[in-house]
């Protein structure tokens, strides 16, 4: 496949410029037509930003890292943020406000390098009234304090958008603040447990080394009571979550992994308390606090998530917050929730249509890729219905709302399906049944011990039974899983697969069916393979075609321009440029009339031949020269991935919102057994996944757009594929960088190995438990033995699972 793509009939063309030129601001390859101070830019937008920064002495931006800028997208419409003048909206966004300053927090998905931090923290030099700005790089957030008498929320947002960091504004972004608080709680708990553990250890050393015979009796009393005192915060504060979770489980008649842990902690504490108060021994406070510390660290390690990703977005995150409502001559900014049936709205170029609406004024060319996954523009005439989620690519249009936002075609997916309301049935981890068996086994051992000592020496009954419960703490179950999965999450993250949480690893290991979306998932979204068929163009003719197609923003023109740029052409001035919506473009370049467009437009046919390919025809001076065929380009490694997955007996399916033009290619890639379905609506995709699940398949879905959102949510594991981590992805269990999609097989195999590692570590720790129990049932478990055995078993398990999971990753090439 690859070889076909690289052969182009225009190869013999000699490049005019020897070196590749890249935009000084954003690094995109470009020609030499736009320049400022011997630096070249890909578009006017990038040049403007450069000039603005230069004026304000902020060119340090370009020194910190190479081409740090973000390509300015489309034209900057001045009224886009008009809705931020609305006091209701302001009230929801602003965190703090008085006469002198206003504080606001934004999420900036485009933040990506050290230069970004530098520029954003120097925001105050760009606009008067901004007092200071502070970024949090990992969360991709910026905190801005400004003087409301000198500038406004709208101006701040417009400035951010202008320099390329368009803030993501949503009303439900409050969720982030809550998670922040929770994380701090965890750090506090670990800190307190660590503090108490180290001090109790220090106080226990005399006991260990004197083997229980401290000469000065009062010292021993001081040490033990101090240990007891220090263990209180551990058991009542740090370990509280284990008791709470165990109690919740028992109330729902379910023995979760925290139940046996809570029992062990309670027994250990009670017995130690008794020993101290009765003066019979030092207790097991050292082991107790050590175990709590280890378990908390394990949970924290596993739960460390990717702050800058959001895995729970619904359609609201994609839609604009506000829209311009037209009432006669009057224009007002309203939030989209206020839209009612019959409202007139104004939608500008490159804005999204927030509700199903009928076109009333203007020419609409609609990009539906977001809804259907089809990537070509659709022309709409006055009176035609346009669905919500479509993007207007031409000029401004006026529409009349037919359905309110929540009842629009695309948002209905969320309303009608219980899929979106309930969270996915949380798969109960295989660790939980294990903890149940373990608890039952432990009770059996304890019962036998009790019976034995009751007959032999009833004074040793209680010490032996409690010792058995203490030493056989099921915490290894928790430790093994948390450290294995925590390490695996990091290794996945290094390979650009970002999982939502650890339970996704277990789900991934059980998958037997894989469903792919086509457009955007298997294929590139912004790259295509372009091939020319017909009479070969001369260099100057190619230059003319390039100059003309550069004038148009149509997706096909853009693809063509980008492809021709590889031959390093320079644009020429175009006169008499005209664009016929949905048909093509024409203009005069170098005295020659050039026309580019659909077969119908160029060849004068009535209708396009219903071909399988997207064709762009060229005519120069009235003479048809041939056509560029534009095909989807598949991502690298797809072929190999399909082969590997097929070999391992996964059932493969491809669902596409597009027409079946790519059927032959897909068949070649995925083989005869795979099912290929085309023209699938978002609802069809969801239903298809559901029907697969009814046939007892465990489905992994890979998709990208909002049109896959239902299927991603319905599947057992949904992976959103994205070319750029700053792009928004639909709700999913994991986010995968598109360059890594060819490694799906390794990812799944690694997930499967995770379970084996956890199981192996279970067996190791059961061996430890046998040793410990053999002491305990003889009623001869001294605190020293417990204090040695428990940390050793914890540390060795943690070491084992970390080494094993890293080694396994290396073997699978991750």
């Amino acid at each position: 496949m690859e070889t076909i793509e690289t052969i182009k009939p225009v190869k013999q063309f000699k490049p005019v410029i020897k070196e590749d030129t890249h935009c000084y601001h954003c690094g995109e390859s470009c020609d030499h037509s736009i320049c400022s101070e011997d630096k070249y830019f890909c578009c006017e937008g990038c040049k403007f930003v450069f000039e603005l920064l230069q004026e304000n002495g902020l060119c340090n931006y370009y020194d910190l890292s190479n081409t740090p800028g973000i390509k300015v997208k489309g034209k900057f419409t001045t009224d886009k943020y008009a809705y931020l003048e609305n006091p209701d909206i302001q009230g929801k966004l602003v965190r703090f406000s008085d006469e002198k300053q206003t504080h606001v927090n934004f999420y900036l998905p485009q933040m990506h390098c050290a230069s970004c931090i530098w520029l954003l923290e120097n925001l105050h030099t760009l606009q008067k009234g901004i007092l200071y700005a502070k970024t949090n790089f990992q969360r991709k957030e910026i905190f801005v304090a400004y003087d409301p008498s000198l500038t406004s929320l709208r101006k701040v947002v417009e400035l951010l958008a202008f320099i390329g960091y368009e803030p993501y504004i949503s009303f439900d972004s409050n969720e982030k603040k809550i998670t922040k608080k929770v994380n701090r709680q965890k750090i506090f708990k670990i800190g307190v447990a660590g503090f108490c553990f180290s001090n109790i250890m220090m106080l226990s050393f005399p006991e260990y080394f004197s083997s229980g015979h401290i000469d000065e009796g009062y010292l021993r009393v001081i040490f033990t009571y101090l240990s007891l005192f220090l263990s209180l915060p551990v058991i009542f504060y740090s370990a509280a979550e284990f008791f709470v979770s165990a109690w919740k489980g028992i109330r729902q008649r379910w023995l979760n992994i925290d139940a046996p842990i809570a029992l062990a902690l309670a027994v250990t504490f009670a017995r130690s308390l008794y020993e101290v108060v009765s003066g019979t021994g030092p207790g097991y406070f050292d082991s107790l606090s050590g175990i709590v510390l280890f378990m908390l660290v394990g949970r924290w390690f596993q739960d460390k998530t990717y702050d800058s990703f959001s895995f729970d977005r619904d359609y609201k995150s994609y839609f604009p917050l506000g829209v311009t409502r037209v009432n006669g001559q009057e224009e007002s900014a309203v939030t989209i929730n206020e839209l009612k049936k019959g409202d007139r709205i104004l939608v500008r170029g490159s804005e999204m249509i927030p509700a199903d609406a009928v076109l009333m004024k203007g020419e609409a060319s609609i990009d539906y890729s977001f809804v259907s996954g089809e990537n070509s523009l659709v022309e709409k005439r006055k009176g035609e219905l346009i669905y919500a989620g479509a993007r207007q690519m031409g000029g401004s249009i006026e529409l009349e709302v037919v359905h309110p936002v929540s009842q629009s075609y695309i948002t209905q997916l969320w309303n009608n399906n219980e899929v979106f309301e309930n969270n996915k049935n949380v798969e109960k981890s295989f660790i939980h049944p294990w903890s149940k068996y373990f608890t039952l086994g432990l009770f059996a051992v304890a019962a036998i011990t009790a019976l034995y000592w009751w007959r032999m020496d009833s004074s040793k009954l209680l010490p032996a039974v409690t010792a058995a419960l203490i030493v056989a703490c099921p915490c290894f179950l928790l430790l093994a899983a948390t450290f294995t999965y925590g390490n695996m999450l990091r290794i996945y993250g290094r390979n650009k697969l970002y999982l939502k949480n650890a339970s996704v690893i277990e789900t991934l290991a059980k998958i037997n069916t894989i469903v792919f979306d086509k457009t955007g998932t298997l294929t590139h979204t912004s790259e295509a393979s372009v091939r020319f068929q017909g009479e070969i163009l001369k260099p100057e003719e190619e230059q003319a075609v390039y100059s003309l197609s550069k004038q148009s923003v149509h997706p096909l023109s853009r693809l063509l321009t980008r492809d021709l740029l590889k031959n390093k052409v320079e644009p020429l001035p175009v006169t008499g440029f005209a664009e016929k919506a949905g048909k093509g473009i024409e203009g005069v370049v170098n005295g020659k009339k050039v026309r580019i467009g659909s077969g119908a437009y160029i060849r004068g046919e009535e209708q396009d031949a219903p071909g399988d390919m997207t064709e762009v025809w060229i005519s120069i001076e009235g003479q048809i020269r041939g056509c560029f065929t534009i095909n989807n380009r598949y991502r690298d490694g797809i072929h190999q991935m399909a082969e590997q997955l097929e070999k391992r007996r996964f059932r493969l399916h491809v669902l596409s919102g597009d027409n079946p033009s790519e059927k032959m290619n897909l068949r070649r890639i995925f083989g005869q057994e795979a099912s290929l379905l085309f023209n699938q609506s978002p609802q069809d995709k969801l239903d298809y996944i559901q029907s697969l699940q009814q046939q007892t398949s465990r489905v992994l879905m890979l998709g990208d757009g909002l049109n896959d959102a239902g299927a991603l949510k319905q599947s057992d594991a949904g992976i959103a594929v994205t070319e750029n981590s700053s792009q928004f992805t639909p709700a999913s269990d994991a986010i995968l960088d598109s360059s890594q999609i060819g490694r799906m097989d390794a990812f799944i195999r690694y997930a499967q190995s995770g379970k084996q590692i956890v199981m192996t570590s279970f067996i190791i720790s059961i061996l430890y438990n046998i040793v410990g129990l053999s002491f305990a049932v003889q009623a001869s478990l001294s605190p020293l033995v417990a204090a040695i055995l428990m940390p050793i078993s914890s540390i060795s398990i943690v070491t084992f699972v970390t080494i094993a999971s890293s080694f396994s990753a290396k073997r699978k090439g991750l």
Binding site: G191, F195, S198, L203, L226
Partner: protein, 55 residues
């Protein structure tokens, strides 16, 4: 041996001070962002200077 008691009391107090310092630092948000400050400290204070070298 009673000096031991004083030492133990002192050591617990010293450790307690560190615990309070830790809690204070978490509350101040020092653990919220462990990346940005490391980059921020490398920036030069006067951006005007770099402008002079360019023009």
């Amino acid at each position: 041996m009673s000096v031991l008691v004083i030492l133990i009391a002192l050591s617990v107090i010293v450790a307690g001070i560190f615990l309070i310092a830790f809690i204070w630092s978490v509350k101040k948000g020092q653990y919220d962002d462990d990346y940005t400050p490391s980059v921020r400290m490398l920036f030069d204070d006067n951006p005007k200077k770099s402008d002079d070298t360019i023009s």
